[in-house]
């Protein structure tokens, strides 16, 4: 980046440092869900796994034995609202840890591929092409078939299938930065490669990686829910929005609330994240608009 354009960028970011009004409601939704998830034991009306077989499939607002089922109860008489709040924990935990994990793996591999070139580049980028050319759900299915379902395995599956997205971006960005005079200079001065990548290249490509991570976050929420819906993700009795939807599917005719509320929560979370992601992209990377 030449000096004048840097100045313009600096002026622009200083000028536009105001509250992002357009996405504020969506930031609020995501923030509220994060807080509810963290504070789940404090805010959930009852324990999410407490069964009450006398209060099965009660519609929203029903009071039974001193418990008000604000969003109704499920087929085992568990409180849907409490499960919804605890389910947010699973969604956000899986999405957050898989984005961190795949982002770290992908960024490092992408940078290394662009920095070393030669056969390292060929091996890594070929692997990226292979993983990207196959729909992630197929890899997820075979991995779950081998490793078995479960919370940690879902994170592993998502990390293993999503890192190429970051690798491709990190690779492209590193290529364009690696020959900058300041990088070559520090190389001549004997900087080690971790230092070069970490101190000089990473700060310059971090913006693009953050954009990818934000957009991936919404996708990871959907993936976790999808795998749990198929019975390949988080296992019962742990509350997960996907698993709740799967149960609700069996009761569409008699208890609409079981599937409707987790679906709505999922939709709102993913929509909000996508809108924030678009906003972040427009801010950090005006060219991609």
């Amino acid at each position: 980046m030449s000096a004048p354009s840097q100045k313009i960028a600096a002026v622009k970011s200083a000028k536009s440092f105001s509250l992002p009004w357009a996405v504020l409601p969506f930031l609020f939704i995501v923030g509220a869900m994060v807080i509810l998830a963290i504070a789940a034991p404090l805010v959930a009306p009852v324990d999410p796994n407490t069964q009450n077989l006398l209060a099965r499939l009660k519609s929203p607002g029903t009071v039974s034995r001193g418990v008000t089922y604000i969003l109704g109860s499920d087929e085992l008489g568990r409180d849907v609202l409490s499960r919804l709040i605890y389910g947010a924990r699973v969604s956000l935990f899986v999405a957050f840890s898989s984005v961190i994990l795949s982002g770290t793996i992908g960024s490092i591999l992408g940078m290394v591929a662009a920095f070393y070139r030669g056969w390292v580049e060929i091996v890594i980028m070929r692997l990226v092409d292979i993983v990207l050319s196959v729909p992630a759900i197929l890899f997820a299915i075979i991995t779950v078939a081998v490793l078995g379902p479960g919370l940690i395995n879902v994170v592993i599956v998502l990390a293993l299938t999503r890192w190429p997205r970051y690798a491709r971006v990190a690779y492209g960005q590193t290529l364009s930065v690696a020959n900058m005079p300041y990088v070559r200079l520090s190389r001549f001065m004997g900087a080690s490669w971790p230092r070069l990548l970490g101190r000089h290249i990473l700060p310059n490509i971090a913006g693009s990686l953050v954009v990818v991570a934000t957009l991936e976050f919404g996708l990871m929420v959907l993936f976790e829910a999808g795998l749990s819906f198929l019975g390949l993700g988080v296992q019962p009795p742990t509350a997960s929005w996907g698993a709740m939807l799967s149960t609700g599917r069996n009761y569409v005719a008699t208890a609409w609330w079981i599937a409707t509320f987790p679906g709505l929560a999922l939709f709102l979370l993913v929509l909000s994240i996508n809108l924030i992601g678009d906003h972040v992209r427009d801010r950090l990377d005006p060219k991609a608009r």
């Binding site: 092409d129 196959v134 729909p135 197929l138 078939a145 081998v146 198929l230 569409v252 609409w256």
Partner: protein, 308 residues
Amino acid sequence: MSIFFAKRLFQALIAIFGVMTLIFFLQRLAGDPVLLLVPMDATQADIERMRVALGFDRPVAIQYLEYLGNVMLFDFGRSYVQNVPVIDLIWTRLPYTLMLAGGALVVAFGIGIPVGITLAIRRGRPIARLLSALVLAGQSMPTFWSAILMIMVFGVWLGWAPPSGAREVSSIVMPSIALGLLSMATFARVARTAVLDELEKDYVRTGHAKGLPMRRIIFRHLLRNASIPVVTVSALEIANLLAGAVIVETVFAWPGLGQLTIQAITARDFMVVQGVVLLGAVTAIGLNLVADLLYSLIDPRIRMGVSG
């Protein structure tokens, strides 16, 4: 052209080989592959007998070569739960998945393209704002939720379509819409960008200058040019539809490959899972190849290595 074609084909073959290798070693990475194939309650003697019968007692290199050879001949092994060749199971389920993907493609194309064109031509107008909000909603809507909502509203409350199964012709309507919605958003976005790009071209201005009506410029001239990216994206979207079918088939109890796979995982029928995943992966890589070739046929700059 032939050099580009050969190079791209070679890359696709490498990718297929890579996927087969990944799956083979994934199986071994998790520990004893025999444990994936036997029932939960198998005794140690059963496991040993199985190991010898399946050849898992031989060196890994030999197993690997044999596996590659079999897979290339579409021999995906036998289902140990149903005791039939995996390929037979796939053949009975495949038509249903193809029907579903076809229906979804019709929905995605039929709604997505007109919406995308409208978004571009009526940019900034209220109708475009409304449509783009709908596209965004479609993108953020989990397939399994929209599918359940449809079953609830149209299947149960209104009774317009059978809520699940594949006994009647009308059974395919709801699964197709549920699966098509996500791709619809993709088609709308691509069509919008393509039309916007074309709107700025000289021939559109010439058309205006000649006094041609807007309708004629769009339908006679612009859409033909704008169709190029749409055609390529279609090939990639088919791969996504096939993958998305796993969830939609489960929701609607549609007897396709996706349902077969999920049933196989539950029944610990690993050979079936492996067969379907391999087939899906090869199809996806093939469609990627088709997309690239289509693109290079239409736009020679790609195969000449010139960036547009």
